[in-house]
């Protein structure tokens, strides 16, 4: 398909080599790995290989620590609910205000069930206050869940350090690492992290396959019960085709790790600098010194993100926005609000997320197009006058709530 795809934090294209690895498992190798005959046996071996490929990408000590699930959300739910079930005497959860809805919506539900959830705040750059965190770590806390990298800004949380602290307090530590896995090197065997959520489609594997890493020795209660698959920790016939695909994708991500952190990062930096220098009243959100190599989140003040995306789309450019309108909600992105970004900028945030398939020519094209689009929309904005914002924009336009 023609077009420039800079929305790789939303999902990625499946690599051709991954598709090729998967294809035989639809037809020739269709057997059920649980079966006793040779139809099933070969599939079982393929899953074993994939498990080891994922193990290597995560830097896990044992391949049995890898549990295949259906998606990142399932991994998140399994991890949190397991931690609560396995430690019924502990009734508290610590998480952050900027987690993915897969965690936040679950936590809101658990609050209604009687659990106490502590939400760690972030500063203007999306960073946590570890002193606040330490104070909350009591013997009441069953599990801490903090994301490895934020999906909107790419900002990292110090999860390795946070896991040490949780471990010392006797609490389990879970991290939603769907954005980090495949983009930054991981070495889980040297950490105190108990559980990690992974999503295949964020690293050029297909949709519908995920992983829950479960450190050996971590007490566990399954979410799905039924069969003995995944050692009884996740019942249900294996999605063998996608598991094979994820294994291949994991292997390729590991091979491309240096490229991701040099070349992709360079393109991202070029894109960001190119836009910022040409567009007045725009700024990067999150912590640019400590983030994913592929992500740039830019706020364009005084205009709204969905309108930007629609115009970008007209030029064949795909990106994402934190505006309320893109999701049909009444508030802009909770991540932007948590960082205290004002409404006039939060609605105009655009996330560009690259991949190892992004090219220099694509970056140049986006740098050329974005300033025009922003200028065009600002001409329509009641906060804008001529070449700049109205003097005291908030006073120049103060609408009645309607």
């Amino acid at each position: 398909m023609e077009g420039i795809y800079f929305d790789n934090n939303a999902t990625t294209r499946v690599d051709e080599a991954v598709v090729e690895a998967m294809l035989p498992y639809f037809t020739e190798q269709f057997g059920n790995p649980s079966s006793m005959h040779s139809f099933g046996n070969k599939v079982g071996l393929a899953i074993k290989k994939a498990r080891m490929q994922v193990q290597e990408l995560l830097g896990a000590e044992h391949d049995s620590e890898i549990i295949f699930t259906s998606c990142g959300t399932e991994s998140d739910s399994t991890a949190i609910l397991s931690a609560l079930k396995a430690q019924p005497e502990r009734k508290e959860i610590i998480t952050t205000t900027v987690e993915h809805p897969a965690i936040l919506t679950l936590c809101a539900y658990l609050e209604k069930e009687g659990y106490k959830v502590h939400y760690l705040k972030v500063d203007g750059k999306g960073r946590l206050d570890l002193d606040e965190y330490k104070k909350l770590l009591t013997d009441q806390v069953a599990v801490v869940s903090a994301m490895w990298a934020n999906n909107e800004t790419g900002t990292f949380f110090p999860v390795v350090e946070m896991a040490e602290l949780a471990n010392a307090a006797g609490a389990m530590f879970h991290t939603d690492a769907v954005q980090a896995v495949g983009k930054v090197p991981l070495n889980l065997k040297d950490t105190k992290i108990d559980m990690v959520s992974v999503s295949g489609h964020k690293l050029h594997a297909p949709k519908g396959i995920g992983v829950l890493y479960l450190k050996r020795g971590t007490r566990f209660r399954p979410l799905l019960r039924g069969g003995h698959q995944e050692r009884g920790r996740r019942a249900g016939t294996e999605n063998s085709t996608s598991i094979v695909g994820l294994g291949k994708a994991a292997e390729m991500a590991l091979e491309a790790m240096t490229f991701e952190n040099t070349e992709v990062a360079r393109l991202r930096d070029k894109l960001e600098a190119g836009i910022l220098v040409k567009v007045p009243r725009s700024f990067v959100t999150g912590d640019p010194s400590n983030r994913l190599p592929n992500t740039s989140n830019i706020a364009f003040e005084f205009i709204e993100g969905e309108a930007i995306l629609l115009l970008l789309n007209k030029f064949g450019i795909a990106a994402s926005s934190g505006s309320a309108c893109t999701s049909g909600s009444l508030e802009p992105s909770h991540v932007m609000r948590a960082m205290g970004i004002p409404y006039t900028a939060a609605h105009g945030t655009v996330r560009f997320s690259l991949s190892r398939y992004s090219t220099e020519a694509e970056v140049d094209r986006v740098i050329a197009v974005v300033p025009e689009i922003i200028a065009q929309l600002r001409k329509l904005s009641p906060y804008w006058e001529g070449d700049g914002p109205a003097a005291e924009p908030e006073k120049a336009f103060a609408p009645t709530y309607a």
Binding site: C325, G328, L330
Partner: protein
């Protein structure tokens, strides 16, 4: 991605009447920056005739907010103020060949900007009279504030009640959990406990009516409509009452009449008013059979 009509896209990509209007004598600023939609409508009105000579807009908002603003300015130009005020938000949405339910508030904002601009021209103070909440039912575009107000005003206590009064929850059912949460909140305020299993206001015998009284009442209502039906050579007969379902037979010319559905609807409305409860009127099989044989 939103399913925008071609008309919406066209008005977004080529907005009409965008930008500052020099010499405007009526300006309306409405919207909420927290929601991400705000609009300034500028009118140039001829004082002698009250005719809107020109209308411009500036909008901070999404594709449909910009398109709604553009459509509004096109719709009101050349109209007198009083004519323009008759433009409803539905008119704006219709002009654009419809808006997604999540985006209907964009057309509401357009209408309110118009009211505010007219008030500004006339030297009056316009105050917003509605509060918009989070969208709960996406099938019928019903928000939390409307649901909450309706529950409060009518002492509702079940999701079914809410659906009957507001339509919310009558489609795909995915918002039932959300509606239940609002019920819990409002019912707690009035000192009651929400029971998820409760059926719509258990009203087989509402307001202390016994079954017999209720059936007599139904008969009485049918008697009032009977003369009309007889005039047209038809009749209606009560067959049975089962909870909230009232079975009837349409007889004579009424059976199979093309207006049957409409007639039944009218009777159902009348019954609901008299019984003060929600009921459903269902023509029985006998009626349906005669309907099938009557129709060519």
């Amino acid at each position: 991605m939103w399913d925008y009509s071609e008309k919406v896209k066209e008005h977004f990509f080529q907005p009409r009447n965008a930008g500052v209007l020099e010499g405007a004598n009526g300006v309306g600023d409405v919207g909420s920056i927290s929601c991400g939609d705000a609009l300034r409508l500028m009118l140039k009105v001829e004082p002698e005739t009250d005719i809107i000579l020109n209308a411009h807009f500036q909008t901070f908002g999404c594709g449909s907010a910009i398109a709604s603003s553009s459509a509004l300015t096109e719709m009101i130009k050349g109209k007198t103020l009083d004519e323009a005020l008759k433009v409803s938000n539905q008119d704006i949405a219709d002009y654009l060949d419809g808006l997604p339910p999540e985006k209907m508030h964009c057309s509401v904002m357009g209408r309110e900007a118009l009211q505010a601009a007219v008030a500004n021209y006339r030297g009056e103070v316009w105050s917003d009279d509605h509060e918009e909440g989070a969208l709960v039912c996406k099938c019928f575009a019903i928000d939390a504030v409307l649901i909450e107000d309706t529950i409060r005003a009518n002492n509702l206590c079940s999701v079914q009640d809410v659906t009957n009064y507001t339509k919310a929850g009558g489609g795909c059912s995915s918002c039932h959990e959300g509606i239940e949460e609002i019920l819990v909140k409002v019912m707690t305020e009035r000192g009651e406990t929400f029971k998820p299993g409760a059926v719509a206001q258990e009203a087989v015998a509402p307001a202390g009516m016994t079954n017999l009284q209720r059936i007599r009442k139904i008969e009485a209502v049918l008697d009032t409509v009977r003369p009309q039906l007889k005039r047209d050579g038809g009749d209606i007969e009560l067959v049975d009452v089962e909870g909230k379902t009232i079975f009837v037979n349409m007889k004579g010319a009424c059976a199979g009449c093309q207006m049957e559905a409409l007639t039944l609807q009218g009777i159902q409305q009348k019954l609901m008013e008299e019984l003060k409860e929600f009921i459903k009127i269902v023509p029985t099989k006998a009626g349906a059979l005669s309907r099938a044989t009557c129709q060519p």
